[in-house]
């Protein structure tokens, strides 16, 4: 039995609200929690098998050129070394998200410093590492372009748009802002480095890897190896964080599989931390010019957003920094510009909330500048600029929760009673700031199978992944709710390419897409049970393992002669074009800026978010905590630095690339607003995993301005950018 559903029309039935188990939405503990806290969860490199060999990748140390030769023999003669591999199937860089095919391949042509070009395989990790460090590469070096400002830039026609006359709107504006903001490259830096263990037996590969989107990764891996997808079994039951960096198959998985076939032995390859920085994905640096034109009341009449981003030659991805600009605020005169510089730097790809993470952040700093220019409270300025409909596409919003989030956040934070900007507390100057948040809402094709057993248990199966997002919890909850089972009677199996093809984790669509597929499978099962119970599906109540209809109650087991199985498949449809769908939120933050050093610290931070139905209050809150903390990093410390001579990443480890540590993050508060958006999907959930980063950094930068009067337009707001602008008297007071 398979139930398909295409989202062409809104689904206003709110079926989950009519269920009786009462488990969806509850902040249930993760069912995978005990395995994770006891070290029993098996991540990619943990699935170690007998007779396994170890491989270590070797990188190119030039930014552009041709690999003329590799001195293999001295390395092959080292103790324990089994092979030195390289060649046309090695990946230049990982596949982009949802590519479903191999990325650019081949060791011979080098496009960036750090490109993986060879693999040394040995009996032990120590032997392989020594071999990799000893391998000599010979190049024909070519002149590289490493600075985006000096590179040739493409201006793709389909990424430019203009309506009205923005120049005139700027001329006629009562208040305007014309500023350029820059953000540096970022690294996802998941705690688990990319890793794979590959086996080859009887013409088939089994690969345990760290993947966000198994259905695409399977095709990418098979295409990279030049084999049929049916001959590859990909397993990714636990993923130690992704944040975009594991959207596409990456070099280590392909290299491990090639080595396993060549040597007829299982081979494990894990990237070192510096290799994660160099050879996976970076978020592109951005240069963003914002033009905001407003009337005397601060109402926007024009919005211009022109960006310059970069990527390797030939890559289709370019940081979609303008993604939310067309719909977030009103204004009839609009310009969107997008240019891509082609550079020899580590590949640019998705890092948590590609587009809005940096685009909304820059917009929200510009809005703060407009609020200041117009003398309007920053919350009120945003309220006045909420559009009636999508101002660029002219379609209605499926649901619009920005005003509710602004009001809720302002009240919970105490915005109206906030300390006056610049209030002195010891060496600290106190200031507050806020920002709106928005992220487009997506839906992806997703399938799941649900099986009910006679013993009152159920099994949920899909190749969907849980990268820390809580998929094990939420799919268990949706099935338990629909089938009337206690959640400990439901098991969820994920991350196995033999299972029905789920959405994968990326773009904040995974939870809503995969939960919808489980919902549809369960709905089909409910129809079957209702038929057996002799009632309509709508009249059937399932609770605690019992079927209740017409005042009759019977154990589910009595209605099941054999296990009952159904598959549910959700498809995106016309709803995407008929309405504008987005999640919304608002950040409020208090910072302290040291009058002595210029250091900025977050003292408290609140986020109010609306993302449709919340499937698990606990895991949804955790996703928001994570997003807000990415925002703290983006605002204050995170900056990937490329050497201007050869583009190599200077700070390619966790000591030099500063992600926030525990002491950088205060007790953040989060409030999730009730919302049901019928246009999104049958469970009415929306994306939440990325929402809380989109604009978070702006609230901090705005608070810094409030505290000390320094407006930082070049992120991150490090001490050197704040100190010279501190008030003359600040250092001598207190």
């Amino acid at each position: 039995m398979t139930a398909h559903h295409k989202m062409d029309e809104p689904d206003r039935r709110n079926r989950l609200d009519a269920m009786a188990q009462g488990i969806v939405g509850v902040g249930m503990d993760r069912p995978d929690g005990p395995e994770k806290v006891s070290g029993r969860a098996v991540y990619a490199h943990d699935g170690q098998v007998k007779d396994m060999l170890h491989g270590v990748m070797v990188r190119a140390t030039i930014a552009k050129g041709t690999l003329l030769g590799i001195d293999e023999e001295p390395v092959k003669a080292l103790p324990g070394v089994r092979a030195v591999l390289h060649g046309p199937r090695f990946l230049r860089n990982p596949a982009q998200g949802a590519a479903g095919e191999a990325p650019v391949q081949g060791s011979a042509e080098i496009a960036y410093f750090g490109q993986p070009v060879a693999l040394v395989v040995a009996d032990t990790f120590e032997q392989a590492r020594h071999g990799a460090q000893s391998l000599a590469l010979r190049y024909d070096e070519a002149e590289a372009t490493v600075a985006p400002g000096e590179a040739e830039a493409e201006t793709p026609e389909d990424k430019q748009s203009a309506t009205g006359d923005l120049d005139a709107a700027m001329r006629d504006a009562a208040f305007s802002v014309d500023r350029t903001y820059t953000t540096p490259p970022h690294n996802s830096a998941p705690m688990e480095p990319h890793a794979a263990i590959a086996e080859y037996r009887d013409g088939k590969f089994t690969v345990r890897a760290s993947c966000q989107m198994v259905k695409y990764n399977l095709d990418e891996l098979a295409d990279s190896l030049g084999v049929d997808a049916a001959d590859v079994h990909l397993l990714s039951p636990f993923v130690g964080g992704g944040f975009g960096s594991k959207l596409g198959i990456s070099a280590e998985a392909v290299a491990a599989a090639l080595a396993a076939r060549e040597l007829d032995r299982p081979v494990a390859v894990a990237l070192s931390r510096p290799q994660v920085f160099e050879a996976t994905m970076r978020r592109s640096e951005t240069r963003q010019r914002f033009r905001l034109a407003a009337d005397a009341d601060g109402r926007l009449t024009g919005v211009g957003h022109e960006v310059l981003v970069s990527n390797l030659p030939g890559e289709t991805f370019s940081e979609p920094a303008t993604q939310a600009t067309p719909f977030l605020y009103r204004g009839e005169n609009r310009v969107i510009g997008h240019r891509i510089a082609r550079v020899n730097r580590t590949c640019a790809g998705s890092v948590r909330a590609p587009g809005e993470a940096v685009g909304v952040t820059a917009l929200e700093i510009a809005m703060d500048e407009l609020a200041q220019a117009a003398g309007v409270d920053p919350v009120e300025l945003r309220r006045r600029n909420i559009p009636e409909e999508d101002p660029s596409r002219g379609v209605p919003f499926s649901s619009h929760m920005l005003e509710a989030a602004l009001d809720d956040g302002a009240e919970r934070f105490g915005w109206s009673d906030r300390p006056k900007g610049g209030t002195r507390n010891g060496e600290w100057l106190i200031g507050c700031g806020m920002a709106s948040s928005s992220r487009v809402n997506l839906l992806n094709d997703s399938a799941a199978r649900v099986t009910m057993n006679r013993d009152g248990t159920a099994l949920v199966e899909t190749d969907m992944t849980d990268i820390g997002t809580g998929t094990y919890a939420i799919l268990t909850q949706v099935a338990a709710e629909m089938l009337g089972l206690p959640p400990d009677r439901v098991e969820t199996r994920l991350g196995d390419s033999d299972l029905p093809k789920g959405a994968g984790s990326g773009g904040s669509q995974g939870a809503s897409s995969s939960a919808s597929s489980v919902f549809l499978a369960c709905e089909r099962l409910r129809c079957e049970i209702a038929e057996r119970a002799g009632c309509a599906e709508e009249a059937l109540t399932l609770k605690d393992g019992h079927a209740i209809s017409d005042n009759r109650q019977q154990p589910l087991a009595e209605l099941l002669q054999e296990p009952l199985s159904a598959e549910g498949v959700i498809h995106p449809g016309d709803a995407e074009s008929r309405v504008r769908q987005a999640s919304f939120g608002a950040f409020f933050v208090e910072v302290g800026v040291s009058a002595v050093t210029g250091e900025a610290r977050v003292r408290r931070m609140h986020g109010s978010f609306a993302a449709g139905r919340i499937l698990n209050a606990k895991t949804a809150r955790s996703q928001c905590l994570g997003g807000m903390t990415f925002g703290i990093g983006m605002a204050l410390t995170e900056e990937l630095m490329h050497d201007p001579r050869d583009g190599h990443i200077v700070n390619r480890d966790l000591a030099e690339y500063h992600v926030p540590v525990n002491a950088d993050v205060p007790q953040l508060t989060v409030n999730l607003l009730e919302e049901r958006d019928p246009w999104t999907n049958p469970v009415q959930a929306k994306g939440i995993g990325e929402l809380a980063i989109c604009g978070a950094g702006a609230s901090i930068v705005n608070a810094i301005h409030d505290a000390c009067g320094v407006r930082v337009r070049d992120l991150p707001a490090t001490l050197d950018k704040i100190l010279p602008g501190l008030p003359e008297r600040a250092g001598r007071e207190g």
């Binding site: 503990d29 993760r30 929690g33 005990p34 395995e35 994770k36 806290v37 006891s38 070290g39 029993r40 969860a41 991540y43 490199h45 943990d46 170690q48 170890h54 032990t124 990790f125 120590e126 032997q127 020594h130 996802s188 998941p190 705690m191 688990e192 480095p193 636990f238 993923v239 130690g240 964080g241 992704g242 944040f243 070192s272 931390r273 990268i467 820390g468 997002t469 809580g470 606990k618 895991t619 955790s622 996703q623 905590l625 994570g626 807000m628 903390t629 990415f630 480890d653 966790l654 000591a655 992600v659 926030p660 540590v661 525990n662 002491a663 950088d664 993050v665 205060p666 007790q667 953040l668």
Partner: protein
């Protein structure tokens, strides 16, 4: 070289390349993969284990230096169905998301609470000779050697605080 390591109260004979770190001995030679490799440089804390009661980064020490030491890993602190108090609190407070840093966080927190009980000061302790208060700032400071990119930090602090207060 032949050595014997005492891991979770079990004697484990090993024949190792002397270059093998304690972390790689655990993972690649004993199949105890609960201890995670996040950076191999002592920068992230994912590989934290407890040696003779002290928390250390197992990637920064060679296995052959630890004959005769009592080594406790995450597997030795508890198991599903028999979790330690901290492990249980991490589940209830959602003190993790992806779970990859979690073994290190929990080993670190286990030893950190002993340090606090013994009166060790930290960077944020006001009085270096007095007792350190069990404040959020103290916990956060003492746990800042363990990175969590999912950023469960507020929940990690809450989980540790609950366990510490329960013991108080």
């Amino acid at each position: 070289m032949q050595i014997t390591l005492n891991i979770n109260r079990e004697e484990c004979p090993l024949d190792l390349d002397p270059r093998t770190t304690l972390l790689d001995a655990l993972r690649n030679h004993l199949g105890q993969c609960g201890t995670k490799k996040g950076c191999d440089h002592g920068q992230c804390g994912a590989c934290t284990v407890i040696v003779n009661g002290r928390r250390i980064n197992s990637c920064l020490t060679l296995a052959c230096m630890h004959e005769g030491d009592e080594i406790t890993t995450i597997e030795g602190l508890g198991a599903p169905g028999a979790l330690s108090a901290l492990q249980g609190a991490f589940v209830r407070y959602d003190g993790f998301q992806c779970g990859y840093c979690t073994s290190g966080q929990i080993c670190s927190a286990t030893a950190m609470l002993d340090e606090l009980r013994e009166g060790w000061p930290s960077h944020v302790t006001k009085d270096l000779t007095g007792e350190a208060a069990l404040s959020d700032a103290e916990i956060a400071e003492r746990m800042s050697g363990n990175l969590c990119r999912c950023s469960a930090y507020p929940n990690i602090v809450a989980a540790i605080r609950e366990v510490a207060e329960g013991e108080g």
